[in-house]
């Protein structure tokens, strides 16, 4: 309805009380569904974008994760033992139902799907976390948006990396813990323990969360009910939350005959870090201030500096808010677990993180800061809620920054994957293998620990490769390659490459039965002399192995 009075055009939209009520009811009923729908669409669109531009598989680790999953269902020696000890097993176990499909394997969707589902659930968890903290609708939506509109999150949720699965399990654990602190409902504690147990099977960040949460639980219960009850509650919590860790020790004991194999084994992070330390590339080890600086840079680059600063203010507002119960404040400390863990592990030399400008001119594991993203989103959502009229300014400024972040495609994780030490351009080697071995009989001898990216990128079936996980095939082929390996892929003269280490000692290699076909930056390709091909086993004749 239009009115024109005293030079003022007035447009009146008649909205009846009933209409308002119905609209409110609709959003109350379907708000969650709408949010999930938006998150799902965002997730799918991102996957498609990164699939089409080929960035989804840029991370070397993404290809390795997919290969591990694939080896469980396909290869010369398929089976659950292929999960190995290099990485914790949950991401690969979750891939098993889909990884058998070649498209799911080579598109990365098998791993991406897990990340995508994790992305959607984390968004919902952030919404409910903020609701439990008493934040209003705008604060909650800001929290979810900050998380979902982060290019690094969108990229990682489109890949087979494990960050999003870690994020969702940790956030779920922390959320359930918050509810337990708030309502003292034991069921919530059990659920928290369950999710933390899952997190402990994704990455070692989860192990720290377990210890950290147990500590906070004991403080809370002792504060309220004394030592005896605290003991009981902590035992209850730890039994379930620590079960994954127990299983991992058992797994290592059963499969590798050493419960600590994952720590001290030849492919463990510890071993790699030791090599880096010897080469003088582990600057954070023993230097707490530098470790803090490096990790905070990583958080700032992953979560956006401005948003991170707002989150720090939000955290202070939360912890200084007199209206918030002490229990809630204690529970919310778990949001800092990833921060403390990463700084500690850098300081102790248990992990490595290169930030361009701080650690030379390269990136490596720059993505580690992304695990703080849910915490950052929650704190920012809370700050927005508490900012009274300034909330609109904050929203405007965040939109301003996000606008430039999208326009310029600023995602440190993509740089980390594409130009940092996390990537290897193995297309030349894998391309050669695809072109020259696809239609020929014979196996390729290769160390998966060093060249998983080549195996993945070659597009060849897993059963074409003899690697460390193929048992008797590997044992035989490294002693007598001329019986098994038509091609050998290895870094010549590099004793870290297990294939070279073993094959270089074999009689046939020493006698020159193999000729160097091509030399590439990341590996060399050897082929058996044509006259010896007839002596090769080209079929998997060893049958089912234990």
């Amino acid at each position: 309805m239009f009115n024109f009075k005293k030079g003022e055009l007035s447009i009146t939209i008649p909205l009846t009380k009933n209409l308002f009520y119905n609209a409110k009811l609709f959003f109350k009923k379907n708000g969650l569904f709408l949010m999930i729908l938006i998150l799902v669409l965002l997730s799918i669109c991102s996957f498609i974008v990164y699939y089409l531009n080929g960035l989804g598989l840029s991370y070397n680790d993404a290809r390795s994760h997919l290969d591990i999953g694939r080896r469980v269902v396909e290869g010369l020696k398929p089976g659950i033992a292929q999960l190995g000890s290099v990485w914790l097993p949950l991401p690969h176990i979750l891939m098993i139902p889909t990884i058998w499909n070649d498209f799911m394997w080579h598109s990365g969707l098998s791993g991406g799907l897990i990340s995508m589902i994790s992305f959607v659930i984390t968004g919902i968890l952030i919404y409910y976390f903020l609701k439990e903290l008493g934040a209003g609708m705008i604060g909650r939506l800001v929290g979810v948006t900050i998380f979902a509109a982060n290019l690094n999150v969108l990229y990682l949720q489109s890949t087979a990396m494990t960050e999003l699965l870690l994020i969702v399990t940790m956030t779920a654990g922390v959320y359930e813990l918050l509810l337990w602190f708030k309502n003292d409902n034991i069921l919530r504690l059990i659920r928290a323990a369950f999710f933390i147990m899952l997190a402990s099977l994704v990455r070692y960040d989860g192990w720290f969360l377990f210890v950290f949460a147990a500590g906070l639980i004991s403080i809370e219960v002792m504060r309220k009910r004394g030592y005896k009850v605290a003991e009981g509650i902590v035992v209850l919590f730890s039994t379930l939350a620590g079960f994954g860790i127990f299983l991992w020790f058992m797994w290592n004991l059963l499969i590798f005959k050493d419960a600590l194999y994952f720590i001290f084994g030849p492919y463990s992070a510890h071993t790699q870090q030791e090599q880096l330390a010897i080469a003088g590339n582990l600057a954070t080890k023993g230097n707490l201030l530098f470790a803090i600086k490096v990790y905070l840079y990583s958080v700032a680059y992953n979560c956006n500096t401005f948003i991170t600063v707002l989150a720090a203010i939000g955290a202070m507002v939360l912890w200084l808010d007199k209206k918030i119960k002490t229990s809630i404040k204690i529970a919310s400390l778990t949001l800092l677990a990833p921060l403390i863990f990463n700084i500690l592990s850098l300081y102790l030399g248990q992990s490595v993180l290169f930030i361009q400008g701080l650690s030379g001119n390269t990136w490596f594991n720059a993505r580690y800061g992304i695990v703080m993203m849910p915490s950052v989103a929650i704190f920012v959502g809370y700050l927005t809620d508490k900012s009274d009229k300034l909330k609109y300014v904050l929203v405007g400024l965040m939109a301003f920054v996000l606008f430039f972040s999208f326009i310029n495609g600023d995602a440190v994780t993509i740089d980390d994957a594409r130009v940092g030490s996390s990537q290897k351009n193995v297309s030349e080697v894998s391309g050669w293998l695809n072109t020259n071995t696809k239609d020929k009989d014979g196996f390729i001898l290769i160390a998966a620990a060093s060249h998983d990216a080549i195996i993945f990128s070659s597009g060849l079936p897993m059963s074409k490769f003899i690697h460390e996980g193929t048992g008797a095939y590997w044992d035989s082929a490294t002693i007598s390659p001329d019986r098994w390996a038509r091609w050998i892929v290895m870094r010549t003269n590099d004793l870290n490459d297990t294939t070279f280490k073993l094959v270089s000692q074999s009689k046939s290699f020493k006698e020159g039965d193999y000729r160097l076909v091509n030399h590439y930056p990341f590996a060399d390709i050897y082929e058996i002399k044509p006259e010896l091909v007839k002596n090769l086993n080209t079929r998997p004749i060893l049958g089912r192995q234990k």
Partner: protein, 526 residues
């Protein structure tokens, strides 16, 4: 304790006049320049005018070159001599040398140039234009602070602090755009505060549009002001059974005023670049026009920066979110540009902001939005140092806003003695640093360039205001008054000491007076 129960308007006017007259005198004393009317063919390219003179950096040269070209050659194209003078901020478009700067500043400074030329000091006249805007900014800060609830004396002190205790001082005595940008921001805020009538909207929308040809990034921090003004035109009423959207038609028509600056901008672009929509900042810089003195380290560094840029340039590509971390560091804590080193006094404004927010002072949201946009924008900028510069010049609009909050802080906490004990030494430090910058040089390299400079020059290079101090003790000052009239009577150091102590005495007197008075209830919102 002085009781101001009978508030004397005459005293207020006298104080204002005295403060204004003092500020005019100080700016006049610090104004950079030398006598003469240099021409493109004789003088401008001499070191006397460039490296050692008032046109020490390319932003001043580039804008003056355009001004000169318009007035003397009646053209937007640069002659080869002018192109050489404006290097490296010169672009080649369709075979012509053109300016890469937004043009409005050069136009605004024309009257000053003409008056100066008449008096035989054309450059000084051009620079004085900026000083006039700096003075108007002082008055606007005072006026806005008073309207937001600050006492008059606190508001005046805050204006003077903005002008003399921040890098705004150094950029109020030479040819940069920052004071005019700040003027546009402050005048818009004042117009919105002063009146709800149509004329205020005319001013705001005109300034919003005019800010773009002044300096393109202004668009982003004038945007919140435009949005706020739009809220005066369109209003929502949620009644019991309906929602009413009211649009004030005559006010809506005020937006049309934006056409005037936009048409000017398009006209300039058409005549300069042959395309009304071509932004000068997206043009490629010209190759070297003539040989550069190899001793001119500054030019060498500038050229290197240009080489790095290369490739296709896009307007939004200048702003990268990845730069924010470094940008925050440079603007706030770095020794070469950081606010805590150059203008720590304005940080008290943050406390004023928090108090104002708690007291629900009007327009706090708008002020925070402008400041936020200013800080974020220039933190995303690839060169947060502002090239060779004195302090963080890009944050001058934010210093102005923080000064407003500083006035509110002084008003709210005027009885807290500890605050004054804390403020006075920091005030002295801030004045000392910025007076040093104003009367010496703005050519301070960023820390990242220093190592290379040292290799090139073979001497230790300073990247903080220590460089200004060395310049001063070496017997140099770029003040026009000092160079023309005072060299016989005092050394540059003595000149500096007199200026610093005078400024500190006047401002600290205002602060002490503010701390000693008891405002009559209700007199704050005069």
């Amino acid at each position: 304790m002085i009781k101001r129960s009978t508030h004397n308007k005459l005293t207020d006017y006298f104080l204002l006049f005295a403060a204004f007259a003092f500020s005019v005198s100080i700016l006049a004393l610090a104004l950079r320049g030398i006598s003469g009317n240099p021409t493109a063919t004789s003088g401008l390219n001499d070191n006397k005018w460039t490296i050692n003179g008032p046109f020490e950096l390319s932003p001043e040269r580039g804008r003056f070159a355009l001004l000169y070209s318009i007035v003397e050659n009646h053209s937007f194209e640069f002659s080869p001599e002018l192109g050489n003078f404006a290097q490296p901020d010169v672009a080649v478009n369709n075979g012509k040398y053109v300016s890469i700067f937004a043009p409005l500043l050069s136009f605004i400074a024309i009257p000053g140039y003409l008056i100066g030329r008449y008096l035989g000091i054309s450059q000084v006249g051009s620079f004085a234009t900026i000083s006039i805007f700096a003075l108007m900014n002082l008055l606007l800060i005072r006026a806005i602070s008073i309207r937001l609830g600050a006492s008059k004396i606190a508001a005046t002190a805050a204006g003077a602090i903005f002008l003399f205790a921040t890098p705004a001082f150094a950029y109020g005595v030479n040819l940069y755009q920052h004071h005019i940008s700040t003027f546009f921001v402050l005048l818009s805020i004042f117009a919105l505060l002063k009146s709800n009538k149509i004329w205020s909207l005319f001013i705001v929308f005109f300034l919003c549009a005019a800010s773009i040809p002044l300096d393109y990034p202004n668009l982003f921090f004038m945007f919140p002001i435009g949005l706020f003004a739009l809220g005066r035109i369109i209003s929502f009423d949620k009644l019991r059974s309906r929602v009413s959207i009211k649009i004030a038609l005559p006010k809506l028509l005020t937006i049309v005023i934006m056409i005037i600056p936009i048409l000017f901008f398009l006209w300039y672009n058409q005549n300069s670049y042959g395309n009304p929509f071509q932004l000068s900042g997206t043009l490629h810089n010209a190759e070297q026009i003539s040989n550069i003195n190899p001793k001119d380290l500054q030019s060498i560094q500038e050229k290197k920066l240009l080489k790095k840029e290369g490739g296709q340039r896009s307007a939004v590509g200048f702003f990268q979110t990845r730069n924010i971390l470094n940008g925050f560091y440079i603007h706030f804590v770095s020794p070469d540009r950081g606010v805590i080193y150059y203008a720590p006094i304005v940080l008290f404004g943050i406390i004023g902001l928090i108090l104002a927010q708690k007291r629900q002072v009007k327009m706090v949201t708008l002020l925070v939005a402008i400041m936020g946009a200013n800080i974020l924008l220039y933190s995303m900028w690839g060169d947060p140092w502002g090239g060779w510069a004195f302090g963080s010049r890009y944050l001058i609009p934010s210093y102005a806003i923080l000064s407003i909050f500083f006035a509110l802080l002084l008003t709210y906490w005027n009885k807290k003695t500890w605050l004054y004990i804390l403020i006075l030494p920091i005030l002295f430090y801030s004045i000392a640093v910025n007076t040093l910058g104003a009367i010496t040089t703005s050519a301070i390299p960023p820390k990242v360039e220093v190592l290379e400079l040292e290799t090139l020059s073979g001497i230790v290079q300073r990247y903080t205001y220590q460089r200004n101090w060395e310049f001063l003790v070496a017997g140099h000052s770029k003040s026009f008054v000092y160079q023309t009239y005072l060299t016989k009577y005092m050394t540059p150091v003595q000149f500096y000491e007199i200026l610093t102590l005078s400024i500190f005495t006047v401002i600290s007197s205002m602060l002490i007076y503010q701390g000693s008075v008891t405002e009559k209830k209700g007199s704050l919102n005069v």
